[in-house]
Amino acid sequence: MEYKNVLTTCPYCGAGCNLYLQVLDGELIGVLPCQSHVVSQGKLCIKGWTANEFITHKDRLTKPLVKRNGKFIEVSWEEALDVIVEKFKHYKEKYGPDVFGILASAKCTNEENFLMMKFARAVIGTNNVDHCARLCHASTVVGLGKAFGSGAMTNSIEELENADCILVTGSNTTEQHPLVARYIMRAKEKGARLIVVDSRAIPLTRFADYHLRQRPGTDVAWINGFMNVILNEGLADQEFIKERTEGFEGLAKTIEKYTPECVEKITGIPKDDLINATRTYARAERASIVYSMGITQHTTGVDNVVSCANLAMLTGNVGKQSTGVNPLRGQVNVQGACDVGALPNVYSGYQSVTDENIRAKFEKAWNTKLPAKPGLTVVEMTNEAAKGNIKVMYIMGENPMLSDPDISHVREGLENLEFLVVQDIFLTETAELADVVLPATSYAEKDGTFTSTDRRVQRVRKAIDPIGESRPDWQIICELARRMGSKEFEYPSPADVMNEIALLTPIYGGIVYERIQKVGLQWPCASKEHPGTPYLHKEKFTRGKGMFFGIEFKEPAELPDEEYPLILTTGRIIFHYHTGTMTRRTALLNREVPTGYVEINPMDAKKLNIINGEMVLVQSRRGEIKIKALITNMVPEGVIFIPFHFAECAANVLTNPALDPVAKIPEFKACAANVKKNNVICRYVKNKYYFQ
């Protein structure tokens, strides 16, 4: 007779809510909220409340699979690992290490991502290691890194509650980070002003003082407009600019021409609304900017992020409680996966691979030579695979066949590989293309840590034994490394991996399991005595002085034209999560929204002669999907929206793989598209119409 509750971190968004997994006689039966957790405070969203269900789903992979004659057959771990090691050794010898591409995962723990990047660099010998942060906040890491010296959320989630003004842009917070939206709502009810800048009428707009609807892809223009008004009306924080920043003259010169009239022409935001919203933001004592992928997923992603940083610095809203620039990270551990170096240009703690001293430090710690040349990013890897330059890929817990732009091209790349290993909990669209599939465990079956969006390193705790023969990712990586001949992967437990991370990573220097049992620690946390950092840039910026950059507005890579007259933007909904591998296997979530849809404005629908619920064709230069129409004022005229969770009508068949030149993030948020009536066959049988 046993009934226990195991405290762990929710596996979904970056809010990092803690929850209890309920175990009765060894069986996982449900979820309970944790009342003493700093963010969740006894509350959860619909995904959190159901976070136990997919774990025991019948589709879980329970045995290693090897593809023979086009079919998967179940094999022993011994056999699967033998096949992998033989192939890895063969290709490394024949072509060298840089034909390998390795994807770590924002769904896996810090320890596992650290081991994966160590495996890539120290065992294979390549810097070609990346993960899906590339697709969501690569521009944040670069942009805020340039402006402030640290590419992470400046303040803490719970601080939002005490802001006087919150500017939310490109974040449908209610749906993507429900428990962060809670703090925005609390601030609002305590009297804060709320400004939402979003083309879509997201749920928060219901409570907003201002809703500015910009044309997708014109963010630099309206932010420059804000700054133009601030300077003209003398609302800038001159003291902060003088004491804490540099580069102001360049900025002032650039934004001169972005008058409210000019900005209205570019963005479609009425100039009076822009002026009033600007005054509200600039006059607030403590103003926070909250943004997410509406800002980052553009070919101007870095420009957008830097512009947000400009705006916050211009009004002195950095380095104080309840202010700052707050990117909300989408996945539970996307912050952590970046922190521990699952990126092609840096080791853990954003330490550059091109810096000789740093490389020497890691070489010494790992007892091996390490490559100096930065590696390839996610989208570049599949591009190079299509060209035949990447020949082997090892993918852990990621599903590029649904998450990456222009899926047809991704398929072409992955199919062109000579050898593909996928390690996951379900047979995803990507795993189906693999030569070997390794069954990993979910978050409920292993120990480790996740780092939430506000840099909080928190515990993940094992609640039940692994399902079937599945194994935790950290054990799989270590076993592979050992079989590849490395002696540097001997860890009794994830806690020992964290000790190595702390040793090599200054921002994680003081993080050990004993210190985070009760409450998570927020990095930077340099030593065992350091209390963690709730908000960044207090007395000085990480880079010394905050840097202003004058940024000119640039149009998205693809604009609507006669052939493709609509702007397609993509995103997520509250009931689902990313590629749906977990949420579509959760009954309550799946019944809420069982498949995808395209949001179309009523005026556009009228022009196209489309009725609500009708199957339509959506086309772009990349491809075409068949999808249900949802006629709604959520989207403005000329814009359509498709959630990207659904493989059968995948938005990413349509999206544009054009990249930001620096961050290499694709433009998911704006491309040209067209909606056409599907050639519907209508049958009339037994007093009912049937559409096919």
Binding site: M1, K4, L7, I29, I46, V519, F575, L588
Partner: protein
């Protein structure tokens, strides 16, 4: 006070009066329900802060004691229960959701501060084993203020409150008495799927009506709400109405039939076992 509870629990486990004790466990400063089967774990048994002990879990839709009793038919379970936990047990037993005969209670009275925090009218169980009985809070000033407002004002208030809903189902999940096997909130006939906020007011009204003669005023729904909808206010008013209309109070007497469970000719609907 906590020492008394631990002492009693220890005695019950050692003498075999019970096989296990359902209570709250503190670990690393966090508190959650736990089934204590060994005396040496009892150092971590705590009684506060208040935490829901019995929730009805999805997708199993059963309270934890039902599930424990299902797995272990003859087990005798001790429960460290506050007033609201006891009311929940009584109401669940009345509806065949657990077997009270195999359950022994260690009744704990809430402190004055705890009673005030919940504005609880009855912050103690029938048999207080541990703690001092403090008087309940008869009325909630927020409710009285709301009742003084005009009907359109009240409607506007609730419309605003319900418009914040993010359909987490937390109110339902945290409720010890939300026990329907076929939850109407999950039926397309009653509530459209995929909407945010869920249809106003039907989504919440279904729950209000379903809980009218079951709600034991524990406040877990409100505590679980991420957007701060004052759900307990509605339930307090509902309890008041049910008391006036039917002279019925949920969670008081296991033998008293719930008024909404009877047929219109006043004969009980529930079959005798």
């Amino acid at each position: 006070m906590i020492e008394e509870v631990r002492k009693l629990a220890n005695e019950w486990l050692k003498t075999g009066k019970v096989d296990a004790i359902l209570g709250l466990k503190e670990e690393d400063g966090h508190i959650a329900p736990h089934l204590f089967t060994k005396a040496d774990e009892l150092d971590s048994l705590v009684t506060s802060p208040k935490y829901p002990l019995l929730n009805t879990f999805r997708p199993l839709k059963r309270n934890i004691l039902y599930l424990i009793q299902k797995n272990h038919r003859n087990a005798k379970i001790g429960v460290v229960a506050r007033g609201c936990d006891e009311r929940a047990l009584i109401e669940l037993a009345k509806r065949d959701q657990l077997n009270l005969e195999k359950i022994e209670l260690i009744g704990v009275a809430c402190t004055k501060d705890e009673a005030a925090a919940c504005s609880c009218p009855k912050p103690y169980p029938r048999n207080i084993v541990v703690g001092e009985k403090v008087e309940g809070i008869p009325s909630d000033p927020d409710i009285e203020a709301l009742l003084k407002k005009s009907l359109p004002e009240r409607l506007a208030f609730w419309r605003y409150q319900l418009s914040k809903c993010i359909k987490c189902y937390g109110c339902r999940n945290a409720c010890p008495l939300c026990l329907c096997q076929d939850c109407k909130l999950e039926q397309e006939l009653w509530v459209k799927t995929g909407q945010l906020p869920p249809e106003i007011p039907i989504f919440h009204f279904i729950r209000f009506y379903h809980l009218a003669d079951r709600c034991i005023e524990c406040g877990e729904c409100e505590r679980a709400c991420p957007v701060g909808i004052p759900l307990l206010t509605i339930y307090k008013l509902l309890r008041r109405d049910v008391k006036e209309l039917f002279d019925y109070e949920a969670g008081v007497d296991v033998k008293q039939e719930a008024p909404l469970l009877t047929t219109l000719d006043e004969t009980p609907m529930r079959s005798e076992e």
